[in-house]
Each structure stands twice: as structure tokens, then as C-alpha cells.
Subunit: 545 residues, 2 copies
């Protein structure tokens, strides 16, 4: 094929350009953080830019080279944001570690990533003291605080003070230009089986994802928004919101370690937050607090819910009781993370509220840039008819091609990434996750989706959380077992809950049994750990057996 090339400027898509744009166009805009030190801290995009340049200079002082991985163990806050830009912008790789992981996993991941420096919040001093001598490659430990909050003594060798480090560095720095496919950030999946695997984002994938994320049919962010990301910056880059912030000049509000209902609510109100984002389990805590105290949201218009399927009952509560629109979204670490968002099409605007809630319960349609398809067991594509359910595959410029260091081999099938989710898609292209493929309940050769069963349970007024898992059945191989955590003071029986399923679902999908538990185990990113429940109930004898 003969070639004629366009004659437009060759300018690489670099993360530093987001910061430069924010400094130039939104220099006065605020970034507000609840610090782990206890107070509320206020800064601006202009100061963010200056301090990010100091970070870049400090990294040079610490001997960091382009491509080196720099670890963080930190909450959402301005210092973490400075590292987002200072590290990636200078050509090093920001590696956000999940502090909720077991210390052994933290050590494994830091070693696997070969982190050279570790930046961490005061909250994680005990964790880092426990792991510092076990990690193999970290040459410098930096406590993200000021001199006043440095510990008098510590087991960590030559512990550095973040604010001192920045004060000693110049704020003059010229962001380097390089290939946009250069690695920018590293994020490990908290796989429930096997070792965690690293996803290595590039500058290009991050900038493209940021454009897509801000679109009206995705998260719809503008300079007029005040965004509070509850989703942690150590969890797939807070779904890209720190980058969306710089692209749009939205005011950012960081909650630090204060993720309880009261702390979040106070920030929503005092900072006039218009938009938030997080996993369903966090919102449960917030809603309980707001409900218990008879409060309202004065400025919050919408919240993005993803990470796990959002129970329809929660979508309705937010909408009907609080006037907050829930934007259901879906993605994963391997997808930077956004794949779909449940924004309306024109024809939905004329629907009744009930019909709209039905649409909102779906995970949404693919954002331009992401191709998706569902396939059957033979790999053939299935129709988008709301009925056919199959393995969900995706591809696009912000989707993983292989894991860091080639871990786990080639993950792709014919160029598509298999998400491990099982889904159906309606004729309008709205995708509905029915299950994780490993969580599907295989009853007599037929599949039962656990999420539908959980959503029904969640609609029961006495249920705080519900997980549906497979239990052994001598005739059907597997049958659904519902594991339920009641709301405080709720009083209802196994039979009441099973009767609640009548007429809501095909009879044979109804769970065979219900067990009540005090707590359902949550993973490091707030998802229910069904593998632990399956282990716990592996000898459960169903009454139908």
C-alpha cells in the first residue's frame, strides 16, 4: 500500500501536558485535601505544577532514571497527585501499591516491580516498618508528611521527609518529551488466584483514556465540576479522575483516609462537591449515615458507581430520596479502567422514571475507543438481544496487551482481552454483567447469574449485603446459596427472604438456601470475596440435596 502521510504536528500525548494545561488555564482552581495529619489542606493547580516539578528534581537527586518504578502507598491527597505528575512526567513509572493488601503481597509486588523509591502516607508507617527490611530493591523510603510529623525513631533505614525533600528541590524543571508509548504507571490486579499481575499503562493510553473519560457520554466532567474521588488513587488511578482534573480544570476534593459516611458527607457539603465516584460498598456506608441523620445533599448531582455491579435498589435510593443521579460504569485494572458508562440515549429521555431506572441498572454502553463483544463457549460472537449471555471480550488503545514482565503469558484471544466477566448486551448496546465467569453457578448444565440474585436480595429492606455463591448439589452439581448480612435490627427469616424472590425471577433460579453471617469478606478494592465464601461454605449441605 503506497503511503501519503498527513502533515500535522507530531506532538506526543504525554501526561505532563495535562499538568501544563491545568497550570496555564486553571492555575487558580483549588485542590482540597483531608490530610492524614488531620486537617484540611488547600492548594491550587498552579502550586500542584510547581511542586510536581520539585518532585521531578527530587527524583533526579535520588538517582532515579527514566523507566524506574516509584512506589506509593498513599490515600487520595495532593501529595499523591504531585507524585502522579512528577513521577510520570519525568519519565519514571508511578507504581501505586494497594495498602489494603497483606504485607506479604506488598513485598511480593514491590519486589516484582523492582521499585526504587517508596513514598508513603503517615497511616502506613507501621506497614512500611513491617516490610521495609524484606523488600529487595527499594533504595529510598519517603514519608509523605512535613518535618513536624516525622517519627522520632523508626526501623526504616534513612527515612526521608517528603516536604523537606521538596523544599530542597528547585521548582524549575523542563518536562522532557519522549515517545508517547513510554510506560507511565503500573497497577497490579488483586487477582484472587495466582500472583498479582502488573498492568503497565503508557502515556498514550492514559491521555486517550482521559479524553474518553471526560466525554458527555462517559463521566461528563468540566471546569464547572467539583469532583471528589472516593475511589482510591491506588485503585486504577482513581478511575482516571486525577488526570480528568487537569484536563478539565475541575476542582478536586481528596478525602484522605476519611472514607466513613460522616467524613465524606462533611466534605461533600463544605466543598460543594457536584460529582463523586466509588464502589457500591462505600456508598452503602454513606447512605446509612445520611439516612440515620436525616440529611440531604445540597450540591451533589451525580455519582459514578463501578468496581462491582451497583444494586438497583441503591440507584433508586440515591435518585428518589436524594436527587443524586447514579452513573453506572464498568471497567477493570486491565482497561485503565473505563469500558462502559450508562449514559442515556435520546429516546430514554421520554421514558418514565421506572423505565429509566431499569436502564440505569445496566453497566452501560461502550465508550468510543473500546470495542466489546460477547462470545459463546465456541468463541463465536453472540447477538445483542438482552438474552444471550457469554464471555465479555474487549479491545482498544487503553486495554492491556500483556502483563508486566510477560507474567501469565499472552492474555489475549485473537487480539481481544477476555475480561472474565459474563454479560449480556441489549439491542441498544447496553451491557449487563451477569457474573464473573468464575462465580457463575452451573446448575444442571445451565448458567445462573449470581448478580441478579444478589440484586433481588439487596432490594429487601432488611438486607445490608448479599453474596450468592454456588453450593454442591448431588443432582444439579451446583445450586445457588445466598449468604446474607442483615441490617442492624432487621428481623426476618430465611423463608421470608426466599418468598421475596417469588415472581421476580424464574422459579428454578431461586436460591436453594440462605445463611446469615455477621460480615461478608471484602477484598482490597472493596469487592466481595466470593472465593473466601465458597471456601467457608464448601461443606454446606443444601436442604434440597
Amino acid at each position: 500500500m503506497s503511503k501519503l502521510m498527513g502533515q500535522m504536528m507530531q506532538q506526543p500525548l504525554l501526561i505532563s501536558s495535562l499538568l501544563v494545561h491545568a497550570e496555564r488555564h486553571h492555575g487558580e482552581q483549588e485542590i482540597v485535601s483531608r490530610r492524614v495529619e488531620g486537617d484540611i489542606h488547600r492548594t491550587t493547580y498552579r502550586d500542584l505544577a510547581g511542586r510536581s516539578r520539585r518532585v521531578a528534581n527530587a527524583l533526579t537527586t535520588l538517582g532515579v532514571q527514566a523507566g524506574d518504578r516509584i512506589g506509593t502507598l498513599a490515600w487520595n491527597g495532593y501529595r499523591h497527585m504531585e507524585l502522579y505528575y512528577g513521577v510520570s512526567g519525568s519519565g519514571a513509572v508511578l507504581h501505586t501499591l494497594n495498602p489494603r493488601l497483606h504485607p506479604d503481597q506488598v513485598v511480593y509486588i514491590a519486589d516484582h516491580a523492582e521499585d526504587q523509591v517508596l513514598f508513603f502516607d503517615l497511616s502506613f508507617l507501621p506497614l512500611v516498618e513491617a516490610v521495609a527490611h524484606r523488600t529487595k530493591t527499594i533504595r529510598h523510603f519517603v514519608l509523605m508528611t512535613d518535618r513536624a510529623h516525622m517519627p522520632a525513631s523508626t526501623k526504616i533505614p534513612q527515612l526521608l521527609c517528603y516536604d523537606d525533600l521538596l523544599d530542597a528541590a528547585s521548582d524549575q524543571y523542563h518536562w522532557p518529551s519522549f515517545d508517547e508509548n513510554t510506560a507511565a504507571c503500573l497497577c497490579y490486579t488483586s487477582g484472587t488466584t495466582g500472583n498479582p499481575k502488573g498492568v503497565l499503562y503508557s502515556h498514550r493510553s492514559t491521555v486517550l483514556h482521559t479524553y474518553a473519560a471526560a466525554l458527555p457520554d462517559a463521566l461528563n466532567c468540566s471546569a464547572r465540576d467539583v469532583i471528589l474521588p472516593v475511589v482510591p488513587m491506588f485503585h486504577v488511578n482513581a478511575w482516571g479522575l486525577p488526570y480528568v482534573g487537569c484536563m478539565t480544570g475541575a476542582k478536586l476534593v481528596f478525602p484522605g483516609a476519611g472514607l466513613d459516611g460522616k467524613s465524606l458527607y462533611e466534605l461533600f457539603e463544605s466543598e460543594k462537591v457536584t460529582m463523586s465516584a466509588g464502589v457500591p460498598t462505600v456508598w452503602q456506608g454513606l447512605l446509612t449515615y445520611v439516612e440515620t441523620n436525616g440529611l440531604k445533599f445540597s450540591t451533589m448531582k451525580r455519582t459514578v458507581i463501578g468496581g462491582s455491579a451497583c444494586p438497583p435498589a441503591m440507584i433508586r435510593t440515591f435518585g428518589d430520596k436524594y436527587g443524586v443521579h447514579v452513573l453506572h460504569a464498568w471497567g477493570m485494572t486491565e482497561m485503565s479502567p473505563l469500558g462502559t458508562a450508562c449514559t442515556f440515549k435520546a429516546r430514554h429521555l421520554d421514558m418514565t422514571q421506572d423505565q429509566r431506572y431499569e436502564v440505569m441498572a445496566r453497566q452501560g454502553r461502550a465508550i468510543y475507543g473500546v470495542d466489546m463483544k460477547i462470545v459463546g463457549e465456541d468463541g463465536a460472537e453472540l447477538p445483542w438481544d438482552s438474552q444471550a449471555s457469554g464471555d465479555l471480550l474487549v479491545r482498544g488503545p487503553w486495554i492491556v496487551s500483556e502483563y508486566f514482565k510477560g507474567e501469565g503469558g499472552n492474555p489475549l484471544q485473537d487480539g481481544w482481552f477476555p475480561t472474565g466477566d459474563v454479560a449480556k448486551i441489549d439491542a441498544d448496546g447496553y451491557m449487563i454483567i451477569t457474573d464473573r465467569s468464575k462465580d457463575v453457578i452451573k446448575s444442571g448444565g445451565e448458567w445462573i447469574g449470581s448478580i441478579d440474585l444478589e440484586n433481588i436480595a439487596m432490594a429487601h429492606p432488611g438486607v445490608a449485603m448479599a453474596a450468592c455463591i454456588s453450593a454442591f448439589h448431588p443432582k444439579w452439581d451446583e445450586r445457588p446459596l445466598l449468604v446474607v448480612m442483615k441490617k442492624p435490627g432487621a428481623d426476618f427469616s430465611r423463608e421470608d427472604l426466599l418468598a421475596f424472590y417469588d415472581g421476580k425471577i424464574a422459579k428454578w433460579w431461586t436460591p436453594d438456601d440462605v445463611v446469615f453471617v455477621d460480615a461478608i469478606p471484602l477484598g482490597a478494592t472493596g469487592k466481595m470475596q466470593k472465593n473466601k465464601l465458597r471456601e467457608q461454605f464448601k461443606d454446606h449441605r443444601l436442604p434440597t440435596a
Copy 2:
């Protein structure tokens, strides 16, 4: 610098992927066209995709190779849209010719581009008959109509019928994958001096521009919009809206040749248009029609105005009388075209309506992806203080690096493209065009911006159109001369208009004279041709001389 590359999918940004997305996710969405044949035509994104694939196959049949330029002379309509995707998607280059140019210029541009095929609307049959035998490279002429509308006889050799061509082609076609920097479209600037120069967009620049254009802080387009691009598809790709359509799945309404107030208004209403886009001179016609007939807009919420500075009086009329928000935007052919859009920041939301109108009169802030700066005569950057006025320079991935075939040499200054506009920028980053550098009036060594003077005249109730040009003055070298076209029936004098400037502007900026004309010449893209006026009034004797 050692390198570590990200491990994300390498997927080129190709125009065909916009169409694939639209077909898959918005297949049922409508595309409505007022055809030059006279009727209203309705199709869908699904059919657009199928017919675009037929275009690709038809091009192969016609012997078109990758990189070949394919000319169009066409209004906004579904067939033109099919060519947008069929031509670029298959690896050829869509060259949109401006039918308002002089036939000599059409010949020059078609020859310079070495167009292989020319597709044209029925309206341009006389034009093509006049130029067909003069062009050197066009091997096939295709009339964009059906068999019934083909002329019985024509001077054009072997004239082909578009619909026949498509009917004969298969709708099965696999869009090829290639380097995203491959040329996709070619657009010539209608330069007032020198030969027209071609700007060769790439797939990459077009897709990035599309992401940016759809952002909430740019044109803010979603699947819920009904977009009527008045700006022609032969004028910088209708500001990217045909691409935004596929990216978002918005309903598109194409006005064909019906750009008069009545035809436009009827389409706005019958198709429930929510958003439009065009140059100020078009809106003047629409407003006159609506005003004269005492009409209202039922669904239109906003319109993008660019191409020339929009008079503040027009922004107010749209807002106050019709509830239509004017989104002032700025760009140029060399910029794909979007550079700035005047969307609000959070703090503007609390302003009075008058203060907001003042902001809306500016051309807006840079969309992320575009860097801009103003420089003085020494090339040094000037401050953003609403005062300093200088040459406006831009750079970014959808800005020209050189013209087609290197015409005119290297246009860049240190990697920046000089726009030829003179502007000031306020502390919030909102840019205000004060003039084209060639239109600036140099009075005694000081610059007077003609746009401010025109805007004041346009606010006078009797003025239909006003152009301010420099006239010779023996003492000051140049002084402002106002050329005015009155509204029908308006009755006011030269002195009335000059008195209208009192208190609105520095005394020494007030025009030295006013002349009334029956018409102000407009160029092929609807801009006032001040060079013609300067020629016409080159011997004008100012009363102050």
C-alpha cells in the same frame, strides 16, 4: 534515556473506527438530509456504514489507490457523509473543494491536489461542466444523485451516477488498518493573498480532534443531541461535526443547499434540533427570518458560532429573545479547526447575566490539546492580562506542520504555528481576537483592533453588517474607516453612528469616517472580505485628513 514501554494494545486511531462504533452502538439513530433534489431524506448510522463500505468498494473499482485524493463539491448531506467515511476509511484522501470559489480557483486546487475522482452535487453540474475539461488529473466524474436525476446530456466525459455506482458495489468490506499518521483529508485555505494552500489532516489528528471537540468544555456533544451543522462540510469538515456524530451517536440533520432563514428554521423545528453551528453571517439571516415572522425555537438550546468573531449583540439576541446559548469558538483550517471554545468556569455560574455575556463575547479558552500564546514584535511571550495584545501562536497534535507539497515553505516559528490573528488573553485564559494581523489599523504607531469597532456598530439597531478598515491619513498613516450596510428601512446618519461610539471606547479609537454601502463582499466561507473593501476605498479621503 533508557526506555520502558507501556504494555497496552497498539491500536491506531483511524476514522473508520468512528463509523464502526456508530454502526454497532447507534445503528438505529437517524441522519436526516434536505436533498438538493428537493425532498427530505432519512437514513440511519447502520445504513451509512453499509453505504460507506459500498463507496470503498466502488473506489477500488474506479482504480483508486491508497493515498489518492478524491475531490468533492457538495453540500451537507448523507452522500457527502458516506464519502467522508468511505474515502478516508479505505486509505484514500477526502478532498473537500469549496464550490463558492471562482472556477479558476477550483481548477487550480483540483490540479494541485491531483484529484483522481470528483464527486459532486446536482447543484454544481454547471460549475463542473465549466471546469471538467480544464482539470488535468480527474479520471472520473460522479454526480451525487440517483438515475432519475441524471442529466439527459452533458459536456462531462463519461459522467457516472453515484447511486448506480453504489448499487453495483458490495456492502461487504473490511476497513484496512494502517499507520494513524496516514493522510485522511485535504482542505485548502481560501487565502486572500497568494495561492490557496492545502492542509493535510491525518487519521490521528482527526480522531484526537473529535475527542476534544465533543468534550463538555468544547462543543459538549452526546447521544442525546440533534445536531444541524450549518457550517459546510466543505469548510474544515464542518468543524468536525460529521466525526463527532459517529463518536457520540447524535442525530445529524443536514441542510443541503437550504441555508436561508426559512429553510433552516423549518428543519430546526421539524427535526427537533438541539444544537447547531455556523458563521455569524448565516445566523444573521436566520435571526432576521425568525424576528420578521415572530417565531421561537422550541428545541434548540445552543449554537456554536465561529469562523469570524461573533458580534456581542448577536449573542444577546440569541440569549435574551430566543433562549439559545451562543457558544463562541475560534479556530482555523490549519487547526482542524478547533482551538478555543467559550465555555464557563465554575465562578462564572454565579455572575450576573450581563457579566456572563461579557465572557461569552470572548473566543474562549484553549481546548486541551491546543497550546496557545501571544507574542510581541520581538517574539517574546506577552502576559495574560486582558491588556497586552499580540500575535497569536498555537501548537498541538491537530495543528498543521506544513502545507501540502511544502507550499509556502516552513510555516512554523520555533515549532509554533502563527495564526495571523492578533489577540489578547485574560487572566482566566479566555482569548479575545482583536484583529487579523493584516487588518490591524496602525494609527501613529499604535494598533487599533477593527473587531471592537465593528462590534459597537453591530450593536446599533440600524446596522445589518459593518466592516472597519484602515484608510490613509497624512498624519497618522492609518485611521479607521467604518463601512456599513444598513438594515432595510433603517434611517440614521453618519453623525448618529459616530455619536453611538461616545463612551464605549477610547476617544482616539473612534472611526474617522463612515460610508454606507449596499453590500459588503463575503468570501467563500462567509467572512467579510476586507481586502476587497480596502481596494474599493483606497482613495477614500477622510474628513480629518
